[in-house]
């Protein structure tokens, strides 16, 4: 960001906007702290000017608010309320918060401008925006006090049905474990470090166990490092086993704990939050329906740990997995007709495939009301019959004639022959007994 020698809040906000987006993209929440004396600048580039021209912006000079990332804008005014209210400064600053969809807050000095009052103002900001998130990680009776960093953001599931933002519990309860291959890179809202902390009897944090070089042997951190901690045990086993722990964050809200390696030496316990809801990951099914393997008749992971109950299969297959018929482009239709023709020339060996493809075409043609196609393919099969070489198996002619006849009947559209569920079956001939081809 360049230096500017005059108050120009818009440029500053544009600069912040660009830096945050370049570095962290549009999904990471960011707190923007604007420290100002409450003067808004003069002339072009002043906040008053920016706001006055706000409605006339195009795409090239878009006003930086609302920020294109989840954000909170905190405006720290080095002035007290009375001073600000004497001009329209406060109104303009409030407009800024409004433009950021109401995300943010204005702080002013209580009393005269002095170091103590400024400190107290920033103290309020710290309390509001920078308090660490403390929680208790639980796995049955095994527990650890932890700090979750960064603070998990409240989440709105559906602005209409459930407009109240959900916040995560301070009790993070492990409900079970799943292999990494089974959870397979699930989508998450956010991810957080889970840092074990040492609390004193009053529940105040006394240390993270992280030691400075100059600390002496018996410092609180040194001692905390030597007391067994569940987080370290959990992290070690998750890493070795290649598993994640499923953790309950609230009603119908879950996440996962796993080991995240930063480098070869450094690794950490991390927590990712799934989207709240009964079924955040389709391949796991409903979370409430996940239970202990000991309740199953036989171990779903196999006695040799060689299988898995995941992923769950959906009831209906997707189009790309079920051989649908699409004739929107002529090539789709041509391919399907050619398949029938190719098999027709290999009768009776390909009797089963021939009828399978024929029935697929028949069904689609009936659904699309494309009866002319049935007639056309019938004509084609009849012609194939006349083109059969002398060496052809006698059954081929019988099957082709039979198939053509059946298609013609279907093309009349009358209900007795054009039933969707009806299938054309191979003609039983004296020769067809030898046809043993199986699909």
């Amino acid at each position: 960001m360049d230096d500017y020698d005059k108050t120009c809040l818009e440029s500053a906000l544009v600069g912040v906007c660009n830096i945050v987006q370049q570095e962290w993209g549009g999904a990471i929440p960011c707190q923007v702290v604007l420290v100002t004396d409450g003067c808004l600048g003069i002339g072009r580039g002043s906040l008053r000017h920016s706001l006055a021209t706000h409605s006339q912006r195009g795409e090239s000079n878009r006003f930086p608010l609302p920020f294109p990332f989840p954000s909170k804008l905190y405006i720290m005014c080095m002035a007290n309320l009375e001073e600000l209210q004497s001009t329209d400064s406060l109104d303009c600053l409030e407009r800024l918060i409004d433009l950021n969809n109401g995300e943010g807050q204005i702080f002013t000095i209580d009393g005269p401008l002095c170091l103590k009052n400024v400190q107290s103002m920033f103290g309020k900001l710290i309390d509001l925006a920078y308090t660490p998130f403390h929680a208790v990680l639980k796995c049955g009776h095994l527990t650890a006090d932890v700090q979750v960093f960064p603070r998990p953001e409240p989440f709105v599931v559906d602005e209409e049905i459930d407009p109240i933002p959900k916040v995560i519990n301070t009790d993070l309860e492990i409900v079970g474990f799943i292999d990494i291959a089974d959870i397979s890179s699930p989508p998450v809202l956010s991810r957080h470090l889970v840092l074990p902390i040492a609390l004193n009897k009053e529940g105040d944090e006394v240390g993270t166990g992280i030691t400075d070089d100059n600390e002496d042997e018996n410092s609180a951190n040194q001692i905390a490092g030597k007391i067994p901690n569940f987080c370290v045990l959990l992290h070690g086993s998750l890493k070795v086993e290649g598993m994640v722990a499923i953790v309950q964050l609230g009603p119908e809200w879950h996440g996962m704990l796993y080991s995240q390696a930063d480098s070869k030496k450094k690794s950490n316990l991390m927590m990712s939050l799934f989207e709240p809801g009964p079924e955040p990951l389709p391949w796991l099914g409903k979370m409430a329906q996940l239970g202990p393997i000991s309740d199953a008749k036989e171990n779903p992971y196999g006695e040799d740990d060689n299988k898995s109950p995941f992923p769950l299969q959906p009831k209906n297959k997707r189009s790309y997995a079920q051989n649908v018929t699409v004739w929107i482009k002529p090539s789709g239709l041509q391919t399907d007709v050619q398949k029938i023709l190719r098999n027709a020339r290999k009768l009776p060996e390909k009797t089963q495939t021939f009828y399978k493809e024929l029935n697929r075409l028949r069904k689609a043609a009936l659904a699309f009301g494309f009866l002319d196609l049935l007639k056309g393919v019938a004509d084609m099969l009849e012609r194939e019959c006349t083109l059969l070489p002398d060496t052809a198996h006698p059954d081929a002619a019988f099957q082709l004639t039979h198939a053509a006849q059946q298609l013609k009947l279907a093309s009349t559209g009358t209900s007795e022959y054009a039933g969707y569920e009806h299938n054309i079956t191979p003609l039983h001939t004296d020769f067809s007994g030898s046809s043993t081809e199986r699909m």
């Binding site: 990332f69 599931v157 993270t208 790309y320 196609l373």
Partner: protein
């Protein structure tokens, strides 16, 4: 996000009047193979689709894509309109699939060109469409039931896609007015009904079809975008459709080369992503910020099916996104889960958690003897599996599998020392048969038997004076004596079993067996020890229990204490001595069973000498060379009783080895 937006309900109204039977006048060659085979054969004349066929194909294609991308919560109702309205399906989830719709369409058949056009009207279908939009869906019903007094928050919006042949602008206006009026009327009806909902918003999409010219039926695809990913050659592009959020970061960043504003721009925007050789395997956990189902634009084309089959077979494909700056970044991953293909959005921006402190630097980081392998085993035992069929508890209420999973974790962790030096029993192979079943909710007779066998086995070990894996970490000198080691081990085993005695009567039996069998030091020794200093006596397992209690939340520890307390009371009643320095001296100390004449074991004299090490080795080596004399094998303190069978034959009991008097 809104679940009940316009896209929750889509009604297709397709005109089935005689006009739609007309040809679209676009020819389809279908007789292709003949050309390159037989000379002199005239290919069959090309055929053409009717307007009806084109309309049905397009709407089915819309449904195909929608069911692929949004298989739930986005519903289609299909209506055919001629002299009346034919509603082909309902809003229920079972009716939402291509097969059902295709079968229903086949039953309707193509329009009859000889029907009286005056009798037919698209209005029948439009009125039915409004009617059907008022009908509540399963999802709406569920949400309303859940919200109770806030049920009015559940919205009812929808979209009508009408494919017809409009005669004029005024005809179009007439259709619009009719829909508006019908909505007005039906909203009045819905206001007084529990099964109907008023329509808050309805989007009407009229698609005008006519023959000749361009086929105008390619439906607009709101809220979806296309994506290509090229496999080096442009010939192998596979165009995929998916939810637009898969590119939300890309669009927000303004780093688009498509030009134009992403907001007002056309819905159909294509972003080209390049296949990169997968360097990934399933075991890797990617940081993924979204996963969206995909559908190929041209589902049956060779490149499409090549890609989808590759993915359905369990492989993943990483995709690169070119940036304006010319650099590339891996931004997406295609992967299938249970036969569904998802486009995963991978985070490609800088992490906010750069250079975090390693876990080894934090609390508990200096401890080096965590029971990592044991906890790994614990995790595998506590893996989850889906239970799709509802189960019921004894009282008839629905059992929630996830709650069962939590219950199991609670049971399995009642006594679970975190480090190796805090435990003896979990370092002993001999304890495994008991430790692995005692945590269960209920035991079989066989389980109880196995637990008893384990206990007898331990008694046997003690009698044979087998060494125990007692940690000497932190203790000065030689560590606890052998009998002290066994005392520690028995105490710990008791703690484990006692934590589960309320599970069932069979658990209680295991404890009874344990209490009957476990060794207790002779009275004098006990008294002597009491004289000694406390800290010398505090053993590891008791420490472990204390640590563990401190770590638990107070309710849990209270509960456990309750169990222990109750245990103590029961013990006192049974006049069994709780072998703990904290428990008061029982007034009349008399062992319940008199089997435990502690064998006069060789007092261990400090650390093992070189001589004894050597002779042990020689003895072991020698013992392998001959079969051991049966008497010595069964001997107690190297003394074997001879002619035992005589005693048995005489009906006398042998009390020598203590076993007979036990049961």
């Amino acid at each position: 996000m809104k679940i009940f937006s316009e896209s929750h309900k889509t009604v297709f109204v397709v005109d089935h009047c005689p006009y739609m039977a007309e040809s679209c006048r676009q020819h389809v060659e279908f007789d292709m193979l003949v050309k390159n085979r037989t000379q002199g054969i005239i290919p069959l004349a090309p055929i053409s689709k009717s307007l009806w066929t084109c309309s049905v194909e397009s709407s089915m294609e819309y449904c195909r894509i929608m069911y692929d991308i949004f298989p739930f919560k986005k519903l289609v109702n299909f209506i055919v309109s001629d002299s009346g309205a034919h509603v082909l399906n309902s809003w229920t989830q079972e009716d939402q699939n291509l097969q059902e719709l295709m079968a229903a369409l086949a039953a309707v058949g193509p329009p009859n060109p000889r029907a009286d056009p005056e009798c037919c009207s698209i209005l029948h279908g439009l009125v039915a469409a409004v009617e059907t939009l008022c009908k509540i869906t399963e999802y709406q019903h569920e949400a309303r039931t859940l919200l109770m007094e806030n049920a009015e928050r559940v919205g009812n919006r929808g979209r009508i896609i009408c494919i017809t042949n409009a005669k004029s602008d005024s005809h179009v206006r007439m259709l619009e007015d009719c829909v508006q009026e019908t909505i007005h009327e039906h909203n009045k009806l819905a206001a007084n009904s529990d099964h109907l909902m008023q329509i808050q918003k309805c989007e009407l999409v009229l698609i005008h079809t006519y023959a000749v010219g361009e086929d105008s039926l390619v439906s607009d695809r709101p809220k979806k975008e296309e994506e290509q990913h090229a496999n080096t050659s442009a010939n192998y592009d596979v165009e995929l459709l998916h939810h637009k959020d898969a590119h939300v970061d890309f669009l927000k960043s303004g780093d688009t080369h498509i030009g134009g504003s992403s907001r007002e721009g056309s819905f159909k925007e294509t972003i080209t992503l390049k296949w990169c050789t997968p360097r990934t395997n399933n075991i890797e956990l990617h940081y993924c910020t979204g996963a969206y189902r995909i559908s190929p634009v041209d589902v049956n084309s060779r490149p499409s099916s090549c890609l989808t089959n590759f993915l359905l077979n369990g492989r993943s494909v990483l995709l690169e996104q070119p940036r304006k700056s010319g650099s590339k970044v891996i931004s997406h991953m295609l992967s299938s889960h249970g036969g569904e293909i998802f486009l995963h959005v991978l985070s490609s921006s800088r992490s906010i958690l750069e250079d975090p402190p390693s876990i080894s630097e934090g609390c508990g980081g200096r401890v080096t003897d965590y029971r990592i392998t044991d906890f790994g085993e614990f995790m595998r035992e506590n893996r989850l599996t889906p239970f799709l069929d509802p189960r019921y508890k004894i009282d008839g209420s629905l059992e929630i599998p996830l709650e069962r999973a939590k219950d199991q974790l609670e049971k399995h962790t009642r006594y679970w020392p975190m480090i190796i030096s805090q435990t003896t029993i979990f370092n002993m192979q001999a304890v495994v048969p008991l430790a692995s079943v005692i945590v269960k909710e209920s035991l079989t007779e066989e389980d109880v038997l196995n637990c008893q066998k384990t206990i007898y086995n331990l008694v046997d070990m003690e009698r044979k004076n087998d060494p125990l894996p007692i940690s000497t970490v932190g203790t000065r000198g030689k560590g606890p004596k052998r009998d002290e080691q066994y005392r520690i081990m028995w105490n710990e085993l008791e703690t484990l079993v006692r934590a589960h005695i309320n599970n069932s009567e069979k658990h209680q039996r295991v404890l009874e067996c344990l209490m009957a069998c476990r060794s207790k030091p002779p009275e004098e020794e006990e008294r002597k020890k009491r004289g000694r200093k406390r800290e010398d006596k505090e053993d590891k397992s008791e420490k472990a229990v204390k640590d563990y209690e401190q770590e638990k939340s107070w309710q849990d520890s209270e509960r456990l204490k309750g169990i222990l307390e109750r245990g103590k009371e029961e013990l006192a009643e049974a006049e069994i001595i709780k072998d703990s320095p904290d428990s008061p001296e029982p007034p009349n100390k008399k062992p319940l069973v008199e089997m435990d004449e502690t064998p006069p074991i060789e007092k261990s004299k400090g650390p093992v000498s070189l001589l004894s090490l050597w002779s042990n080795r020689i003895n072991t080596a020698n013992s392998r060379k001959h079969q051991e004399f049966a008497g010595r094998l069964n001997s107690v303190n190297n003394r074997a009783e001879l002619y035992q069978h005589l005693k048995e034959e005489n009906g006398m009991e042998t009390t020598e080895n203590g076993k007979a008097s036990r049961q």
